[in-house]
Symmetry: C2
Subunit: 107 residues, 2 copies
């Protein structure tokens, strides 16, 4: 399983209906109940929102975002999906990761 | 405590020294040891990286980012700091949050 950073962008501020909000929250609850939601929430700038989804592939993450009523109804007009290469103590902070190594200067 | 989404941008690919990587990892370990690091890692696009920091204020989050050797040495030339209004079951998915309410259409 990988984590994917989702950025929802270009919000139509002041145009949220209670019904759409309810549908979006049901979508989040479904993600949460199926252990696909790591964290989510709007940003304080009131322009964007973020989610981290736990999925097998980027394609799965993208399909989940496209099934979000906030995206289907274009309350957020655009979005980004980015795979995170998580760094932590367990993987020695990616010292041996191929992408890390590809960025090292030949010294 | 609030969570802040940090995006590190404009990476100087292929210009990472082993010494700078080590300094950056020591910075991450310090964040982790002081319970200020929720998740971090580069994105698979090899352009950006993300962190979620746990801080009292946006100013504290910004100072932590500016103390990251990757930012001090401009390995990433720019960054963004965004406060997350976290949504979850415990806060009823922000139904009663002032920002949510401010976006509701008068119906």
């Amino acid at each position: 399983m990988q984590k994917f950073l989702i950025l929802l962008k270009d919000k139509s501020k002041g145009e949220l209906t209670h019904d759409l909000l309810k549908q979006h929250v049901e979508h989040l609850q479904e993600l949460s109940n199926t252990s696909k939601l790591f964290i989510c929430g709007p940003l304080k700038d009131n322009e964007k929102a973020m989610q981290i989804l736990i999925c097998v592939t980027k394609d799965e993450a993208q399909k989940l975002v496209e099934s979000d009523p906030f995206i289907k109804k274009r309350y957020y007009a655009s979005y980004e999906v980015h795979e995170i290469i998580e760094a932590n103590e367990e993987n020695n902070w990616l010292f041996e990761d191929p992408q890390t190594k590809s960025n090292l200067l030949n010294q």
